[in-house]
């Protein structure tokens, strides 16, 4: 049987500082956008200034004539139609970025501007321009369970609610892009800001018809992806073409405007929900019409009724096409939207029934919600939720919560409210990834894999595992990842990276250790079975201590080089969590002040408590941005985006951050489950919990996210 995680680990679980932390904090870490290979040219992308237009003519001659401009590449050609503000048209490479921008400005394009629809209302309006050959909508598969009509009739209470949440963008701080260098005619090095070095390698190899073995994609560190950076993209190909054309390395990163407009977004969501419960406050029926837009050609699906069991339900979903940039996966795709819609509705129903919304949630979870464990013991996630909710309610002070009616009667403009929401996620690993562990005769240890660290501390965690097995310190391990030529690594999506990569790292280290024992036992006058690992030493028969380096020297000249694979029992999937919010709303200004957020999260075996907490804090903060600030605003009349920047596109700053209480749901049973990813779950429920706390404070539902002064004052005016 394959090995399980050690029972009494020395390093696993500890808050070990990041291996690349000091390099990042001292400006020495080289990000892909920092790479400046000899002779590098700077390239700039020209994007569509129109929401919808046909390109009649493109004249690049003036651009090419500018001194310093070295190459122009057309991404869209004459006759093509651009379908949103920001869609890529061309790229110009020049000796300086300033000159490349001049080059873009000098490209003369004759457009036939076409009618546009940039909002869902515009796209659905009578007489709207047809945006795709199949129209402006696409119906999702209808879902139906039980007999919702009869159940609605019999229900003790029901509400009809309408809720919505807008399109937001990833706002990766390092914009999308790469540096491409051709090494001769057929070999290519790409420094890419990506979550997927292996995927970029195969896409670039395909685009340029060179073997994947001759494409090296390097991502030693990168400045944020959140789901938006999996592919080579048109600009990756443009950089490759320009590098080929000019014979020089080409640096090409999007500007901030393009990052917002064309590099991905989280689709909007809206829901018209009829929700019903029996007299005890258990959900019995749901009828929902939902919609959302993922831009010009992507869907906007989200789960509903989400974490709850609703025996009778009907749902029809419609994707709406607009002249907007396409959605990409964004941290827990679909879940934050589904959570915001469903958690708003269940809260409103609890209010109507006059019962505690916490109780209604407990009543409405499936009796048995089975999730796996690496130990083989199946767990009931509903039981996990119950314990988590108890912890969260206590930490936020849920007993101080008053009903909406009481809060509405409170004196003065400042109203305090409490809200909560639940979420779930998968977070399991894939079984086809590998890690190589190398022990050199000088005692140095290296691990290699093509996976990448997008800020999750994957580099550090893998080193921690190897150090645990070999009796070393984490800093002793050269954790060499982010190179597509290394053994296949997991793309960083779906919270799958750590559960995919931790098992092969562990197995590689175990096998390397055993091979070391075999190779050096003779030189130590022992049998391999006599050897074991101590802290920085090899123990002979548990007693004689041979320092690690001395032991490795017995290897002679040949290093140990082992590639480890996945094995069963080390990972699981299926997590739950709950979040609670305490806030105050100023009913005169509509401004929300967060007082405290509590997040309770389970993710099986926690490998590094410090970086785990950072992930959860980060998830909560991204969620509070979603709940309070973020919205990509499109102008219906011009068809342009109004806030592709970082001042009118709002994100929380230091003063917006409240006290955040993170509670790891960590116990013996959880640790036995094995490794589960934590990147996504903690960002799901925050916005929903904020919306519910605002409703609780005001005594009325604010139906449209985010909880901005405008949306709050509008709701108060209607109440």
């Amino acid at each position: 049987m394959a090995a399980l995680w050690p029972d009494n680990p020395r390093l696993i679980g500890e808050g070990v500082p990041r291996l690349d932390g000091l390099a990042k904090a001292s400006g020495r870490a080289k990000y892909p956008s920092d790479e400046r290979p000899d002779g590098v040219l700077f390239a700039v992308v020209l994007h569509s200034p129109h929401a919808h237009a046909k390109i009649l003519k493109i004249d690049t001659s003036k651009a090419e004539a500018i001194p310093g401009v070295k190459g122009v590449y057309l991404i869209a050609n004459e006759g093509a139609t651009v379908r949103y503000h920001g869609e890529e048209i061309a790229a110009v490479a020049a000796e300086s970025e300033e000159i490349a921008r001049d080059g873009c400005r000098a490209i003369a394009i004759e457009f036939e501007v076409l009618p546009h629809a940039v909002t869902e209302a515009q796209a659905l309006a009578e007489g709207a321009p047809q945006l795709t050959p199949r129209g402006n909508t696409q119906a999702g598969r209808a879902q139906e369970d039980g007999d919702p009509d009869a159940a609605l009739e019999e229900a003790a209470a029901r509400i009809e609610g309408e809720y919505s949440i807008p399109v937001i963008t990833h706002v990766c701080l390092e914009t999308h892009g790469q540096v491409v260098r051709w090494d001769g005619d057929a070999r290519m090095t790409v420094w890419a800001s990506t979550q997927n070095v292996d995927g970029v390698e195969s896409e670039m190899a395909g685009a340029f018809n060179v073997p994947a073995t001759d494409v090296t994609v390097l991502t030693p560190v990168m400045g944020g992806g959140f789901g938006a950076k999996f592919g080579a993209d048109t600009w990756g190909v443009a950089a490759g073409e320009l590098a080929k054309k000019t014979g020089k390395p080409v640096w090409l990163f999007l500007d901030r405007i393009q990052e917002h407009l064309t590099a991905g977004n989280r689709p909007s969501a809206s829901a018209k929900i009829t929700l019903a419960a029996d007299k005890d406050g258990k959900l019995t029926a749901m009828v929902a019409e939902t919609a959302g837009t993922g831009g010009i050609s992507r869907g906007a699906a989200f789960p509903l009724p989400y974490v709850y069991e609703v025996p009778n339900s009907r749902r029809q979903h419609t994707d709406v096409r607009v002249n907007g940039g396409n959605a990409r996966a964004m941290r827990a795709p679909g879940h934050p939207q589904g959570c915001a819609m469903m958690e708003s509705a269940i809260d409103d129903l609890a209010e109507t029934l006059g019962i505690d919304p916490l109780q209604m949630r407990l009543n409405s979870l499936a009796e048995q919600d089975t999730v796996p464990s690496g130990s083989g013991e199946a767990l009931n996630r509903t039981e996990i939720y119950r314990e988590q909710i108890k912890l969260g309610a206590e930490a936020i002070g849920w007993d101080q919560r008053k009903s909406r009616a009481d809060n509405a009667k409170a004196e003065g403009p400042l109203k305090r409210g409490f809200g909560m929401a639940l979420h779930q996620w998968g977070g399991g690993g894939r079984d086809d990834k590998q890690v190589t562990c190398i022990i050199n005769p000088d005692g140095s240890v290296e691990l290699r894999s093509a996976t990448q660290d997008i800020g999750t501390a994957c580099r550090t965690i893998l080193a921690q595992i190897v150090a645990e097995v070999l009796g070393l310190q984490t800093t002793d391990i050269n954790s060499n990842i982010g190179n597509s030529q290394f053994p296949p690594g997991q793309a960083s999506g779906g919270s799958t990276t750590t559960p995919s990569m931790a098992p092969p790292a562990y197995n590689a280290a175990l096998e390397a250790r055993d091979q070391l024992f075999k190779r050096i036992a003779g030189a130590l006058d022992a049998e391999p079975g006599d050897l074991s690992v101590g802290e920085g030493v090899i123990l002979v028969k548990g007693e004689r201590e041979v320092p690690w380096k001395d032991a490795c020297r017995k290897l002679g000249t040949m290093p140990i080089n082992v590639t480890g694979n996945f094995s069963e029992g080390l990972t699981a999937q299926g997590v739950g969590g709950c979040q609670f919010v305490d806030l105050t709303v100023d009913t005169e200004t509509g401004v929300v002040k967060l007082n405290k957020i509590v997040a309770v999260q389970d993710t099986g075996l926690i490998l590094n408590i410090m970086t785990w907490k950072s992930q959860v804090y980060g998830g909560v903060i991204m969620g509070l941005n979603y709940g309070l600030f973020e919205e990509l605003v499109m102008d219906p009349s011009t068809g342009l985006c109004l806030n592709p920047d970082m001042e009118l596109y709002k994100l929380a700053g230091a003063s917006d951050i409240p006290e955040i209480d993170i509670i790891p749901f960590d116990n013996e049973q959880m640790r036995k489950r094995g490794v589960i990813g934590v990147g996504e779950p903690p960002t799901i429920a925050t916005a929903a919990a904020i919306g519910n706390a605002v409703a609780n404070a005001l005594g009325t539902r604010v139906p449209h996210f985010p909880m901005t002064p405008m949306n709050i004052l509008n709701a108060l005016a209607k109440a």
Binding site: K24, C172, G223, G653, I657
Partner: protein, 219 residues
């Protein structure tokens, strides 16, 4: 830490034109090569090409300047419109400061200019000629230093905003030696910086720890 309102005191000849002032003052801002009068002297000294169109002086071409970066005097050829950030990153290979918003909203580009934290994305390089620029690559990294405090508190994730936060902290500590800031002081001081990964909680603790270490060290 607070990228402060960067106004040169009357008695100190200091770079006084940010890119924002510059664009505001130019009638053809989009052309990118039109100078506001406040920059003219520097331009002339820098020997950029000058021509006149409709009575507006247009500066173009390239010009060599001397920049003192991290204690080292360096020559670099820039354009009159080059920002300090792009000059550091693209022309001098000083890539610690990052370009994120490129318009003075997020602070990732923060550098210390003559002791003040400034947004280098909206500071013209030409206005910094003969002034002292410090980037985080020059900061101490030993025990108690700002970068060490960030490491120990896991005050970074992807790390792309981190240079700005570290520099803002460093500048604040240098401006307020021996002070032990409150959490609110720290928040206020860091309000010119934005993080997307959500590392603020660690950043606050890192700043508090670094301040404490600095006080203890008697710096």
């Amino acid at each position: 830490m607070p990228p402060e309102d960067h106004k040169a005191p009357a008695d100190l000849p200091r770079p006084g034109h940010s890119r924002r002032d510059f664009l505001r003052g130019s009638s053809l801002a989009a052309a990118g090569a039109v100078m506001a009068t406040s920059a003219e002297t520097a331009m002339h000294e820098a020997r950029a090409d000058v021509s006149e169109t409709d009575g507006v002086a247009i500066y173009s071409g390239t010009c060599p300047i001397e920049l003192k970066v991290n204690g080292e005097a360096m020559s670099v050829t820039i354009e009159p419109r080059s920002t300090l950030l792009d000059t550091l990153r693209n022309r001098m290979n000083v890539t610690g400061p990052k370009r994120v918003c490129d318009r003075a909203s997020c602070g990732a580009c923060t550098v210390i200019l003559d002791g003040d934290a400034v947004y280098s994305c909206t500071t013209l390089a030409i206005s910094c000629a003969d002034h002292e620029v410090r980037t985080l690559e020059s900061f101490e990294t030993d025990e108690g230093s700002v970068p060490q405090s960030f490491l120990k508190n896991d005050a970074l994730m992807c790390g792309y905003c981190t240079p700005g936060f570290v520099t803002a902290c460093q500048a604040w500590l240098e401006k307020n030696p021996g002070q032990e800031p409150t959490l609110d002081d720290i928040k206020q001081g860091l309000d010119g910086n934005i993080c997307r990964c959500g590392t603020y909680i660690g950043v606050f603790q890192a700043a508090l720890d670094a301040a404490k270490a600095m006080k203890k060290g008697g710096a």
